[in-house]
């Protein structure tokens, strides 16, 4: 059975958590993933740093 593809979520949408984003990454980097959305460079830069903090805190 094919694995159901998770619909990509905009990390900056209200209520979207990093867990939701993590499930949609499919091995891509945050920078790559953000190309799916209309985000500013500043937003992408913030997301890269904050997501890394999130990943570190989960270790």
């Amino acid at each position: 059975m094919a694995k159901e593809k998770k619909e990509k979520v905009n990390p900056f949408d209200k209520g979207v958590t990093y867990l939701d984003v993590f499930e949609c990454l499919e091995g891509k980097s945050i920078k790559e993933y953000c190309k799916n959305f209309d985000l500013t460079d500043e937003q992408v830069e913030f997301l890269e740093k904050d997501f890394e903090i999130f990943k570190q805190s989960k270790k």
């Binding site: 905009n10 990390p11 900056f12 949408d13 209200k14 209520g15 979207v16 958590t17 990093y18 867990l19 939701d20 984003v21 937003q43 913030f46 997301l47 740093k49 904050d50 997501f51 903090i53 999130f54 805190s57």
Partner: protein, 338 residues
């Protein structure tokens, strides 16, 4: 704790006054930066109210109702906090303070010590109370914030904010300060308007404050009571460096009026108050919706001394006060860094 003293054996005169440590004044209380609810012995209810109205086409028939009052209560429960230390005047007998001790082996009380050293207790406690009011996190709230799942958008706490809170020491008296109340509102993430933050420097502080200002609800900027920006102490220096960049044309992004105690710094007409807000956070809201609840405002700057035991010379100094922070109208508040 005994008196920690590095004395020089007194020969001749000593310089007066004694050089006291530099302390942050409790501006929050002294200048009335927030709303004060005193005479709160145990707890009190603070209520916020709003009305939602919805216009509908007139039909002449009995309309289905729409809208109405929206009320929310928050409970202010002041925590009781005590400070106590002990000391022996005997430790001062061979120091400068013996100059005003009366003769006789029984007499080791020094008015100079009382008035210039012990008297610092009040302002020091007051400084600590201000710190608790803005920055304290209880163990319970720290745990609740740690259990949240972070995210970048509105409705989630950033991972940076969550990690910062995890690093703070829990307040031993269980106090939750303003930042704690804003980040976690009783049972869930606070309803603050989120502005994602970065490390603030003199180079980017104007741009970061532009983001904060742009997030303030338009109707709040039109209100009779203007909001204030409550910022960390360090931002004052960064703002002044930014305003007076070396070798560049002066960029007056921030308005600085007056000097010394009367200095007022503002951004686009919104006054910035520098308080012990933890690094990385700036909070914006109307002062009247931020409550300092206590039994008596006088408690925080007063203290009592006495003998620990009647048949000994060990003295105590104690201060006791109660404190709680409550933030209302949280949906109007902007939190940078949250």
């Amino acid at each position: 704790m005994a008196i920690t003293y590095t004395p020089v054996e007194i020969r001749g005169e000593a310089v007066s006054p004694i050089i006291q440590e530099v302390m942050f004044a409790n501006k929050t209380v002294n200048k009335g930066l927030v709303n004060f609810a005193d005479d709160v012995k145990a707890d009190t209810i603070i209520t916020e109210a709003a009305i939602t109205v919805a216009g509908q086409a007139y039909t002449g028939e009995a309309l289905t109702a729409s809208g109405g009052p929206v009320l929310k209560d928050r409970r202010a429960i002041p925590k009781k906090i005590e400070y106590k230390y002990e000391f022996k005047m005997e430790a001062l007998r061979s120091s400068r303070f013996n100059r005003d001790m009366a003769s006789g082996a029984w007499n080791i009380d020094s008015n100079e010590f009382n008035s210039q050293v012990l008297a610092m207790t009040g302002p020091k406690v007051s400084e600590d109370a201000q710190l608790k009011f803005w920055a304290a996190f209880s163990t319970t709230t720290k745990a609740a914030i740690a259990a949240l799942t972070p995210g970048a958008g509105q409705g989630s706490i950033t991972a940076a904010a969550q990690t910062a809170v995890a690093g703070y020491t829990a307040d031993p008296a269980g106090v939750d300060g303003v930042l704690s109340r804003v980040l976690y509102d009783e049972t869930a993430l606070g309803a603050y308007i989120k502005v994602t933050g970065t490390t603030v420097t003199s180079s980017n502080i104007a741009a970061e404050y532009a983001k904060i200002y742009a997030a303030i609800p338009a109707d709040l900027l039109e209100a009779a009571e203007q909001p204030k920006m409550y910022a960390p102490y360090a931002h004052k220096q960064l703002i002044k460096v930014a305003n007076n960049a070396v070798g560049a044309a002066q960029q007056v992004n921030f308005l600085v009026e007056g000097s010394g105690d009367n200095e007022v710094i503002s951004y686009n007409g919104i006054i910035i108050e520098f308080v012990p807000m933890p690094t990385g956070f700036v909070y914006v809201n109307q002062p009247s919706v931020i409550f300092w609840s206590t039994d008596s405002m006088a408690d925080v700057a007063s203290f009592q001394t006495g003998k620990v035991k009647n048949d000994g010379d060990v003295m105590f100094a104690r201060t006791i006060y109660t404190l709680d922070a409550t933030v209302m109208n949280q949906a109007n508040g902007v939190l940078y860094g949250g």
